[in-house]
């Protein structure tokens, strides 16, 4: 069927080194017009580097890029863009205070007399694109306040407006609900139907099987497989990616549930702009229990977690830890009581990338669990604890003095998780513990979370990865618009049912399927 399509983009022998690290080794890739070509691989496998080479953010050390059979050398990202290569990044690059229209035309305005912006003409062009590709986006609304799924469509329209012929989508589904993902897939199918080409980067195997025409697997900077989805199954793909069998289903252990360690009663929390983001939350986490909070990003999880850990003031309501009121206690006091926290923002809050491994490993521990010497740093004790974190959590690092900046995302996350998990806490608040890390590390962290719960630690798992919540949790709650909805015990509700709760109980259509028929 689609194998007859001409090759639109070809890479020959692409190599890229960063210092001693070979990010891409001799990569060959053929992408055919009008197909969805998935690039999969663990984090650090070289997917992003490769995409950045295609869009000329980086320059390859060796190798050629061929567009429609002709060798091209771009003069910079803008030039790549002019050649029809458009990239939609994982983190949206939009100005929240500008309208959708302004965001799309930014830098590519149609002009009148060379200097004046011709808004009418620009608008007409953008509306034409929306019509052609069946996008229904509110051009005159400001970007802030729009649903994530809509923002993603804005990003896609943006690259289409810039004349993209090959669209690179970098982990596009990580921010969407199951329904939102369906919407995106419909859009992708429509795009390739009109002759556009989509490069789809992901680590979610199920999606790859569903949407792609071709799959290229990367591992350690090399291509380990070129397959079609009908030739393989998920397990085969996973072993191509990791090089061994992976079990991504959590092995749960039976345990008794004890008294609650965390109780939340009628909690209301506001964000920095004074908007109420948590609107009356009741919640309990018992010792040894994993309570999973699912929800679309921005439903108030961030404010809830911050209030629970003392980083944000609660407007109303109470937070109890082992029966004692801790609503107005600081992070420091909560840590001393035995509350641990794995923040979502790994580099912003979880680690100091400028610091060394040991400096990161003892943060928090040095206060709550303490060293014998209160004034001077005791290098022996520090090395003992940091060494334990590094060893038990398999952090790959040459020394304890190594700067955290040089570690991969997965290793940094293992360091953070290890630091919090080894502190003999009674309650752990864990936020997106496996975001953007490789499958091997995910498997490892999941195992550790389950181990910890079986030792009697209460765990509140807040994750935007629905799969993660469903695999790990004993009990699921769904956050929508600042409120919690019961998602039942593990296995009671299907993914689709929880997806509906995430989108507002199925009443409000937040799925992002705002496209025309």
């Amino acid at each position: 069927m689609k194998s007859e399509q001409p090759v639109v983009l070809e890479l020959r022998g692409i190599c890229k080194n960063f210092g001693a690290l070979a990010a891409n080794k001799n990569i060959d890739l053929k992408v055919r017009r009008g197909t969805v070509h998935a690039i999969i691989g663990e984090n650090g496998a070289g997917k992003s580097t490769l995409m950045n080479i295609i869009s000329d953010i980086y320059q390859a050390d060796a190798g050629d890029i061929l567009l429609n059979g002709e060798k091209v050398v771009f003069k910079g990202p803008m030039d790549a863009c002019a050649h029809g290569i458009g990239m939609v990044y994982q983190e949206f690059m939009l100005f929240p205070d500008l309208t959708v229209l302004d965001n799309i035309m930014m830098g590519f305005e149609k002009r009148r007399g060379g200097i004046f912006i011709d808004r009418k003409k620009t608008r007409a062009a953008i509306e034409e694109i929306c019509r052609t590709y069946h996008f229904n986006i509110p051009l005159d609304e400001k970007v802030k306040g729009l649903a994530v799924a809509v923002l993603q469509q804005v990003e896609i329209v943006k690259v289409l407006y810039k004349g993209a012929d090959i669209i690179i989508l970098d982990e596009p589904t990580s921010v969407l609900t199951p329904q939102g993902i369906e919407g995106l897939f419909d859009a992708i199918r429509f795009l390739v139907g009109t002759g556009k080409t989509v490069l789809f980067i992901t680590h979610k195997l199920k999606e790859v099987m569903e949407i792609s025409d071709y799959i290229t697997v990367l591992k350690n900077g090399e291509v380990t497989g070129n397959v079609r989805p009908d030739e393989v199954d998920e397990a085969a793909l996973a072993s191509l990616m990791v090089g061994r069998e992976v079990i991504l289903t959590a092995q749960k252990v039976e345990k008794q549930v004890a008294a609650p360690v965390l109780e939340v009663k009628g909690l209301h929390v506001r964000d920095n702009d004074g908007n109420e983001r948590v609107k009356g939350v009741d919640l309990a986490v018992r010792a040894g229990e994993i309570v999973g909070v699912a929800g679309v990003a921005g439903s108030g999880q961030k404010e809830l977690v911050e209030a629970l850990f003392g980083l944000r003031e609660a407007q109303e309501g109470r937070v109890l830890f082992e029966g004692a009121d801790i609503t107005s206690k600081s992070c420091r006091e909560r840590r001393c009581l035995g509350v641990g926290y794995v923040p979502q923002d790994r580099l912003g809050e979880g680690a100091n990338v400028e610091g060394s491994i040991w400096q990161n490993a003892i943060m928090g521990y040095h206060i709550a669990h303490g060293f014998k010497r209160k004034l001077l740093l005791d290098r022996r004790e520090i090395d003992a604890f940091s060494g334990q974190v590094v060893k038990q959590f398999a952090v790959k690092t040459p020394t304890l003095e190594t700067r955290v900046r040089t570690l991969s995302g997965g290793n940094i996350q293992k360091l953070i998780v290890g630091r919090e998990f080894l502190q003999k806490n009674k309650l752990l608040i864990v936020e997106d513990p496996t975001r953007g890390i490789d499958i091997g590390a995910i498997e490892f962290i999941w195992k550790k979370i389950i181990e910890l719960a079986s030792e009697g630690v209460g765990i509140l798992l807040v994750s935007h990865e629905l799969n993660e919540v469903m695999e790990l949790s004993d009990r699921i709650v769904v956050m929508y618009d600042g409120k919690l909805f019961d998602g039942g015990n593990a296995g009671e509700l299907t993914e689709q049912e929880i997806g509906l709760l995430m989108a507002g109980g199925g009443t409000a259509d937040e799925s992002g399927r705002k496209r025309g028929a």
């Binding site: 210092g19 980086y58 320059q59 001077l376």
Partner: protein, 366 residues
């Protein structure tokens, strides 16, 4: 083979790039300096040798160089303490004035036994610098007013207020007599002993070195120092980790103010023997420049301060014996800061992106 060679080259470059940067900056500054001196109709070599002989030419010259090294080290340390932890204390100049004035007051109003007196005066000076730093700290913590602005403005208040206090102390009548407003001299017991006769090189150098050693020790070996550094490098991380960020912020501000005040005290008790209005003449800003060149390293400050002292002492001599304006040296110092703090990699990347020359295959390794 080629890739391996280029990788090795880059690793080498990463390690050495800092040193190379300093060397290049120094060379560039020397070139521009030579140009400036030539422009004034003087031979650069002669001007440079005048600086050298003026700063290190003999016992007296070395003594005066040491005299200038002392405040450079101390203001540099005041800046390092603040900047290392992310506090923008631009008010070192003002804290010097308050520290200096208070030390002078304690020096001629109070009578104490020899060694005790001078230590007492220094302590008072430091504490007054600390109190003066408390104002912007409180404004920042409770009213969220940016300390960059408050400390900057408080400098002018400090200069004029200490001048006014000086008038009050000596009585309004005498203020017209001389153009330099100054308090009566401090008691001999309050003076820092002179180390090299006939110069102002005084025991303040020991205070300065002690400050360097203590600060370096705190950062390297204490838990508090560990926290201070983490707060400076990533505030959110420290907060989540349970560090009391407010208290840390406050203590940084106060320590920085204390060191600045101490510097004022050393200047007054060591070099001037009394409070002279506007005596500091931008020592505080010297400190900020020094800490920037030293990249906030305590021992780096010591090293840069020696260079600074040489330039300061030598510049005066250069002006005396050649036709070169002393301000040329100030200009050169500022240019040095500029060249050292520029992010050359970014500029390189910018131009590479602009003109898109693919011939040179060097990526921005991130």
């Amino acid at each position: 083979m080629k890739a391996a060679a280029s990788a090795a080259l880059r690793a080498f470059a990463d390690k050495k790039s800092e040193i190379v940067k300093y060397l290049l900056a120094f060379a560039a500054v020397m070139l521009i300096g030579a140009g400036l001196i030539s422009f004034q109709g003087e031979d650069p070599v002669r001007a440079l040798s005048a600086i050298w002989s003026g700063a290190l030419g003999g016992r007296i010259e070395i003594g005066n160089t040491i005299r200038w090294i002392i405040p450079c080290v101390m203001t540099g340390m005041a800046a390092v303490v603040a900047f290392k932890s992310g506090v923008n204390n631009l008010g070192i100049e003002g804290q010097i004035y308050f520290g200096g004035f208070a030390a002078a007051m304690a020096g001629f109003l109070v009578q104490l036994p020899p060694v005790v007196h001078v230590l007492f005066c220094l302590l008072v000076g430091g504490l007054c610098g600390l109190l003066y730093a408390l104002i912007p700290a409180v404004l920042k913590l409770f009213f969220r007013i940016d300390e960059m602005i408050t400390t900057l403005m408080l400098n002018y208040i400090a200069i004029l207020l200490t001048e006014y206090f000086t008038v009050l102390v000596i009585g309004a009548s005498s203020s017209t007599a001389s153009n330099a407003l100054q308090t009566p001299p401090v008691y001999e017991t309050a003076k820092l002993p002179v180390l090299i006769k006939g110069t102002y090189a005084n025991a303040g150098i020991f205070v300065a070195v002690a400050v360097v050693v203590v600060v370096a020790f705190i950062y390297r070996y204490t838990i508090k120092g560990y926290e201070l550094r983490q707060v400076g490098e990533n505030l959110r991380f420290s907060k989540v980790g349970g560090v009391n960020v407010v208290r840390t912020f406050l203590s940084i501000f106060l320590i920085s103010g204390f060191v600045a005040g101490l510097c004022g005290g050393v200047e007054v008790l060591g070099s001037h023997g009394r409070f002279v209005s506007r005596f500091s003449n931008n020592l505080g800003w010297d400190g900020i420049m020094i800490s920037m060149i030293a990249k906030n390293s305590p021992f780096g400050v010591l090293f840069v301060s020696i260079l600074w002292g040489v330039l300061k002492a030598g510049a005066l001599h250069m002006e005396r014996v050649t036709n070169t304006n002393r301000l040329t040296v100030v200009l050169i110092q500022a240019l040095f800061v500029l060249f050292v703090t520029i992010d050359y990699k970014k500029i390189y990347a910018f131009f590479r992106g602009r003109f898109g020359r693919r011939a040179v295959q060097k990526g921005g390794a991130v």
